[in-house]
Amino acid sequence: MAKVKRSPWVLHYDGSSCNGCDIEVLACLTPVYDAERFGIINTGDPLQADIFLITGGINSQNQPVVKQLYEQMSNPKVVVAVGTCACTGGIFKECYNIKGGVDTTIPVDIYVPGCAARPQSIIDGLVQAINLFEKRCDDYAYQLNAEGQ
């Protein structure tokens, strides 16, 4: 399964944020940093994505959307919460419409702190996510084999 590591496709969703993390993430994924050399593709389509990268907190309007996008991704998948808002709700936490961090809605695997999260930590988080994705792929294959037998 070593090669799986080389093709992580990312779905990026920006929740209730100040857009700072959003811009940082896009900057990481744009041609300037050439994420494609690691096989990373920023796809807009949950059905094709492996890593769900969320910036910003969850509010009552985007909660069903996040839930649905997560459900549309095929297994195995990894969720990365980027920025303080995505991790805990951050500065908006006490707002009337905010539910909190992403983990209030879907299970989060990797937390990337920072306000806004620095490119270094975003890339670090992605690398961890890729490793986790690889491990899950192995588990998934193993599970399929076990079922097959």
Binding site: K3, V4, D34, G39, D45, Q48
Partner: protein, 290 residues
């Protein structure tokens, strides 16, 4: 059917996706270099396919899309096989258009909004490129007197000199067929289209893998078609054909990187004009000469 024909068909079926995948990798590498990036490994497409095949299968509503996509791939292989077996070129083109029809069905069967719009666009693309393909076959027939691929590839001269107009028209529509800008209106290879992932929006995991493999077969088939413009019975024509194919491929990648997407109607208008003038004039001249 001689042994050579059988061999070339087997080669196409076995090595077709390998060459196609490699070409796709080279395409990505070239594009990256043109944009001043390092780009992924040339084997990247294979990594992608491997991952897609290992993920959980997903479908929308039911499995009809999978069935239709599988049919698309099989028919695509078949049309390429007919071509590389050296039999009738028109037959392979007709099977090719049937295969494209199945892609349309696969895209529209889910009734998903993005996919349906992209499917309609795909249909218009099919309509746009079909005359040029048919006329290219007619061009071969006019010069060699046969629709048989085997016979066409065994002439004395390089057909390109007699069929420049048909060649131009064919290369022009190749941009549509290979989903390259400015004609990647139903979905291309770049992220962030206005239609999400275009015609592949509802294809995930294994379905997407099937789609890509079918596309690789198609590209190999189409480049084989291009090679036919250069191939003849002399051995030196083989490197010539390879150079021609490489040139065409490079041109397509270049065009992809230097142009923005066009509106559908402009695509139709421009392509048909080019087909009419380039191929039509060539046809006129050939008919007057013969």
């Amino acid at each position: 059917m001689t042994i050579v024909n059988v061999l070339s068909v087997v080669c196409f079926i076995v090595f077709g996706p390998l060459i196609g995948g490699l070409l796709s990798g080279i395409d990505r590498k070239l594009s990256a270099r043109m944009q001043g990036r390092i780009g992924p490994s040339v084997l990247q497409p294979f990594y992608d396919i491997k991952k897609l095949l290992n993920k959980q299968r997903i479908d929308i509503v039911d499995t009809s899309m999978s069935g239709l996509l599988l049919s698309y791939m099989i028919l695509m292989i078949m049309s390429g096989a007919i071509f590389f077996s050296g039999s009738d070129i028109l037959m392979s083109v007709f099977v090719l258009s049937t295969a494209s029809t199945f892609l349309y069905f696969a895209a529209i069967v889910t009734s998903s909004p993005y996919n349906s719009i992209a499917a309609s666009r795909e249909l218009v693309q099919i309509m746009t490129y079909e005359p040029a393909v048919l006329l290219a076959c007619v061009g071969f027939y006019l010069v060699t007197g046969t629709f048989n691929v085997g016979a066409i590839s065994q002439t004395d001269s390089v057909l390109l000199w007699q069929l420049p107009g048909f060649f131009i028209a064919f290369v022009f529509i190749l941009t549509i067929k290979m989903r390259k800008s400015p004609f990647d209106i139903s979905g291309g290879h770049h992220a962030h289209q206005e239609l999400v992932q275009g015609i592949t929006t509802e294809m995930g995991a294994r379905n997407l893998a099937i789609f890509h493999i079918a596309e690789w077969y198609e590209n190999v088939f189409l480049l084989g078609f291009v090679a036919l413009f250069a191939l003849n019975k002399n051995l030196w024509s083989i490197p010539l054909a390879v150079v021609l194919v490489a040139l065409v491929f490079f041109t397509e990648v270049l065009i992809d990187n230097v142009s923005a997407r066009m509106k559908m109607k402009n695509m139709l208008r421009i392509t048909w004009l080019v087909t009419l003038f380039a191929a039509g004039l060539n046809l006129l001249v050939l008919m007057l000469v013969h």
